[in-house]
Symmetry: C2
Subunit: 329 residues, 2 copies
DNA sequence: CCGAGGAATGTTTACGTAAACATCACCCGT
DNA sequence: ACGGGTGATGTTTACGTAAACATTCCTCGG
C-alpha cells in the first residue's frame, strides 16, 4: 500500500480510501491511485483488513462429508448466495458423524476466520454436542429441529410427506406403505410422522413402516419385502434413491409400476425423471433453503442476534409416471 | 492474549509459544497458561495470526456450481485432506460457466485469504481466461488438460474408457457404440478418443458416436436412437447418468439388457448398483484425486513452484449385470 | 476583504500475533 | 569456585490496514 501511495504521490490513507470506494476523493486522485494499483499489481491484504476491521467477510459451513444430495445442493445455494453478498464460504468438513468429530469442528471454529456459521447437520449430534458455539457468532441451522435454541431453516418435510400420501389416497389407494429413512435422521422422522398422521387423519391404520438408510441398495432390500405384501398398492419412499431401489425390486418380482404398485419419492433429484418409470416425487427447493440460511446469518452479523425460530420452505409435488389408481382387483 | 498472559503471570510471548505448541516451555508454565486460556475462553485471532505469519492456512477451490457428481466428490476429498493438514477450504463458486464469471472469480482470488488454489474446471474456460492466476500462488488444476501450463491431477479417463471397450470386446461383441458426453468437456473428449483409439487398435471401424450432455434425459434420447440400430449390441456410455437414461430407452423399446445389448457406464455412482439391471461401470477414485490435489498444492506452498505436469489416477472396471456376450444371432 | 465552514488529504495510532533478539538462572567441568 | 554454556522466559518490533484526528486549502456569505 505504501508503494502504491508513493507512486501515486498520495498518502497510504488515500489509497485505502480509494480501495474501499470511499466518497471524499477527487476523481483525479482516484484515477492516479487506481493506475498505480494496476501498475504495481497491488492487492489488498485480507488478513490485515480483517484484523483492522474485525470481520472476515467469510461464512463457515459445518457439514458432514458432502454425502447426501440435499446437503450438497444446500451448500451450493449457500455458496452462491454468500458470493452475491460479498462473503466467502469456508468448509468445515466433519469426516465421521461422531460426537468427538463434531465437538472438534465446533472448537476449531473458534479460531477460524469466520463471521458466522451455518450448520447442516442432524439434530441428535447437535443436541449432544458438549462444545457450544462461540457466543457472539450468529448461527443458522439447516436440516434440524433445534428451533427452540437456534434459528432454523428447513424444507417443509411434513408438508411434502402429507402431499405425497394425499396424492396416493386421491388416486384411490386404500392405504399407503412407507419406505422410511434412517431413525437417526430428523428429516426421515418428520417424513414418517407426517405420513402416519395423514393416514390416521383419513381414518386409516398405517401399515408398519419399512426402514432403509437412504441408499438405493437399502431401498432394493426393502422393496423385496414390500413386493411380498399382496395388499401393497402404494408406497411413499422417503427419498428418490430408495425409490430407485424399490422400483428395481418390484420389477424383479414382476410387480408392475404403476399398474400394480404406485411409488412416490422425495427430493426430485435430476435422475428421477429418467427412472423406470419416471418417478412421481416431492420437489425440494434447496436453493431457497440456502438463500434463507445466508440471509438469516447475515442479518445476525449486522444486528443483535435474532431469537430462535424455524422457517419452512414449501415443497411441490411433481407428478410423473410412477403413480396411478390401484388395480381394479 | 495480554489478558491471558497477565492471568497466568507470564509474558504474551509465552502465551504465543504455548498456543503454537512450541517446545521450550516448562510443563508447569504451560499448564498455567492453558488454565488461563480456558478461564478467559481465549481463542487466537486468526486474522492477526495470518497477518503475522504471512499465510492463511486456507486453500481456495474454484469450481462451477457444485453441479456434477465428480466435482462434488473431488471437492469433498479435497476438504477432508485439507482438514487433515490443518488447512481450511474456501469455496469460490462460479455461478455460470461464462468467461466473465471465470475472470471475476480469478480476480477476486487476488484479495482472498488463500495460500493456494485448486481449480476444478473444464479446460476451454481456463484457456480463454484473460485474468491469469496471481503469481506466487501455487495452483493445481483438476479435470483439465492444461498439463503444459499447470500442475494437473486427474482420473485416467483414457485408461478407463479403454478398459470399458476392451471388456465389451472380450465378451465377444464385434464393435462398441459410444454415448459420448458434451463436446466442450475435456473428460468427455478423452473418453471418446480412447474409445475410438481402442476400436481402431483392434482393427475395427468405430460407429458414429451419439452425443449427450451428461444428463440421464439426454441418455434416454440417445438410447431411443441406438435402439433402432439392429447391429448395436454393446454401448459404452460416458457416464452413469446417461447410462441410466439409455437403460430406460432400451427397456421401452424392448431391447433386453444384457441379453440383447450390453451397457458399460463411467463413474460408478452409488446408485449404479441399483439400476435395472445393475450397471457394469468404470470406477473413479475421486478421493485419491482430491488427496493428490491437496498434496500438490501444499508442496507448492512449502517450496518453489513445481513445474507443470500431469498426474493420472487409475480407474477400475466394476463388472455387474449390464454386460454379457452378444446374442447368438 | 475576512473568517467560518467544509471538502480533500495527510499523520498518528492500534488491531493481535510471532519472529528476533535480549535477559536471566542454573548446571557442569575443570 | 568460576566461566561458558544451555534452556526458559521477557522485550521490542513489524506485519498491512483503516479509524480517528489533524492539517491544508478553497469557497462563500457578510
Amino acid at each position: 500500500m505504501g508503494d502504491v501511495a508513493r507512486l501515486a504521490g498520495v498518502s497510504a490513507q488515500t489509497v485505502s480510501r480509494v480501495s474501499n470506494g470511499f466518497a471524499g476523493v477527487t476523481e483525479e486522485t482516484r484515477r492516479q491511485v487506481l493506475d498505480a494499483m494496476r501498475e504495481l499489481d497491488y492487492r489488498p491484504n485480507s488478513a490485515a483488513r480483517a484484523l483492522r476491521r474485525g470481520e472476515f467477510r467469510t461464512l463457515g459451513v459445518i457439514t458432514f462429508s458432502l454425502s447426501t444430495l440435499g446437503n450438497i445442493r444446500t451448500l451450493d445455494a449457500i455458496a452462491t448466495s454468500a458470493a452475491r453478498e460479498g462473503y466467502a464460504v469456508t468448509l468445515l468438513p466433519v469426516a465421521v458423524p461422531t460426537q468427538d468429530e463434531v465437538n472438534g469442528a465446533f472448537s476449531r471454529l473458534g479460531e477460524l476466520a469466520v463471521d458466522a456459521v451455518i450448520v447442516i447437520m442432524e439434530t441428535h449430534l447437535l443436541d449432544a454436542a458438549t462444545v457450544s458455539l462461540p457466543p457472539g457468532i450468529p448461527v443458522v441451522v439447516a436440516d434440524s429441529d433445534a428451533g427452540d435454541r437456534y434459528t432454523v431453516v428447513d424444507t417443509d418435510q411434513a408438508g411434502g410427506a402429507r402431499d405425497a400420501v394425499r396424492h396416493l389416497l386421491d388416486l384411490g389407494h386404500t392405504t399407503v406403505w412407507h419406505l422410511a429413512g434412517p431413525e437417526d435422521s430428523f428429516a426421515a422422522q418428520r417424513r414418517a410422522n407426517a405420513w402416519r398422521a395423514t393416514l390416521t387423519g383419513a381414518g386409516l391404520v398405517p401399515p408398519p413402516p419399512v426402514r432403509g438408510d437412504w441408499s438405493a441398495e437399502s431401498g432394493y432390500r426393502a422393496g423385496l419385502l414390500l413386493a411380498e405384501q399382496p395388499d401393497c398398492t402404494a408406497v411413499f419412499a422417503a427419498n428418490d434413491q430408495m425409490a430407485l431401489g424399490l422400483l428395481r425390486a418390484l420389477h424383479e418380482r414382476g410387480r408392475r409400476v404403476p399398474d400394480e404398485v404406485s411409488v412416490v419419492g422425495f427430493d426430485d433429484i435430476p435422475e428421477s425423471a429418467s427412472f423406470l418409470p419416471p418417478l412421481t416425487t416431492i420437489h425440494q427447493d434447496f436453493a431457497e433453503v440456502g438463500r434463507l440460511c445466508v440471509a438469516g446469518v447475515l442479518a445476525g452479523v449486522r444486528r443483535p442476534t435474532p431469537g430462535p425460530g424455524t422457517t419452512l420452505v414449501p415443497t411441490r409435488l411433481v407428478p410423473r409416471n410412477s403413480t396411478a389408481p390401484p388395480p381394479a382387483h
